[in-house]
Subunit: 230 residues, 2 copies
DNA sequence: TGTACATCAGTGAACGCGCGTTCACTGATGTAC
DNA sequence: TGTACATCAGTGAACGCGCGTTCACTGATGTAC
């Protein structure tokens, strides 16, 4: 009558391994995340890890997916907390959650969105949906705001630029997204804004600034400039 | 009577080594840029490289400085070509040059602005001035536009946010920059905008979009929103 | 409940690999008289 | 212009290191009767 079934122990050790890998990733960068270093930290032999992950690449993939999931969950929680409020408030909350998560998990943010790890290629079928979710979490509130009449985009953003019309239309029909091209386009704009404010803050490129205030101000001004009704 | 003096040959081989390193960097990422790989590509033994660089880190530093220099030169050339034109045109040209250089030299852009290479720390005294130059190339035209009365920032950017006033003042006095806090603040905004549009385009995060058009439209709209006189 | 067997987790040795760097050396290139 | 010497570039062997992964194995954990 074991307290934990074998499968449960297995899963829990898998989590331990990932946690250790994350710790090493944060401390030493991607190169520090070697199987042998993880095994050393766990007081275990390196081959033992193969019971839990078929290869190093699979471990990395698991960390990548966890990263996207963690970021997405944080954004979604922020969004849901503003469920009753104006769409602009929800968006701002989600974007703040993005920033907060990134600064709280810098190594994972870099793993997901930074320079690709040489020699590792993420399996698209697993990794892409996890990445797309983040994007959808920005697009959906935009679309809602448009449909509810809370957002009346000002020129030049009242329509999608001509060069983007075709690619966006293709994207929508290929994936059966129930959203307007305008919402998607604004999603890309939001995504780029977030990236440009977050990654440099993380890497210390904005050093002299009060980066948290900078982020807040920029996002607030950007949302305001979009044309949300007051 | 040698055609090239020894020192000239030395310098030319140094350039060959850097060029090979850049090629490997582009092809295989930072990990592919090993001294042994470079030596192999040059049909030379690895220890021979120590005649030209005291260590691998010095080679990397040289590449980093070259990267900043190349990017800065491209921006400066664009700026000078618009010397007679309106400040907004000069800024737009410089920002376009930034983007063009990044897409033409993706590996170097990542080396400069991407995830730091594990185990390598750039010597600040060499590397920082090269990095700061890029920033100054954005701030200077801003300051000129302000002084010439070509730029009348609209709220909320007619003044620096309160949280940033002190850090920016400190930055200016510590370095004796002959520029206004407003110009520096706009410089950071421009920098962040550029980063957020360039790095994701480079990494394929904006895949479905026409990224060149996206960059152009965003920069144009941003400059317009600043309040340049027509 | 007790025994016999199957499954699983983890070990230790070994594989082949690539790495940065050092060292003593050889041969070529330049310099001084 | 020719010779003697100093300087430099590059070699080949070796150092010690860490890596991912495989393999045959042992001992523990669970299952079936």
């Amino acid at each position: 009558m074991p307290r934990l079934k074998r499968a449960e122990v297995h899963d829990s050790i898998r989590e331990d391994i990932k946690a250790t890998a994350r710790r090493l990733l944060a401390a030493e960068g991607a190169a520090g995340m070697s199987l042998r270093a993880i095994a050393r930290a766990l007081d275990i032999t390196a081959p033992a890890l193969y019971t839990y992950f078929p290869s190093q690449d699979d471990l990395i993939t698991a960390l990548v997916v966890d990263g996207f999931t963690g970021l997405g969950d944080a954004m979604q929680a922020a969004l849901e907390q503003q469920a009753g409020a104006a769409a602009a408030a929800g968006l701002h909350a989600a974007m703040q959650a993005y920033y907060a998560w990134a600064l709280a998990h810098p190594a994972e943010y870099l793993l997901i969105y930074g320079t690709p790890i040489p020699g590792y290629t993420a399996p698209g079928d697993i990794t892409v949906p996890a990445a797309v979710r983040i994007f959808i979490l920005l697009v959906t509130p935009m679309e809602q705001a448009l449909q509810r009449g809370e957002l009346h985009p000002r020129p030049p953003y009242d329509r999608v630029p001509p060069a983007q019309a075709l690619p966006l239309a293709r994207l929508i029909t290929a994936n059966d997204y129930p959203v307007s091209p305008t919402a998607i386009y604004l999603g890309f704009r939001a995504w780029s804004l977030l990236y440009g404010l977050t990654m440099p803050a993380l890497l210390g490129h904005l050093m002299p600034l009060e980066t948290a205030a900078f982020f807040h101000d920029e996002v607030a001004a950007w949302l305001h400039s979009l044309g949300f009704s007051p």
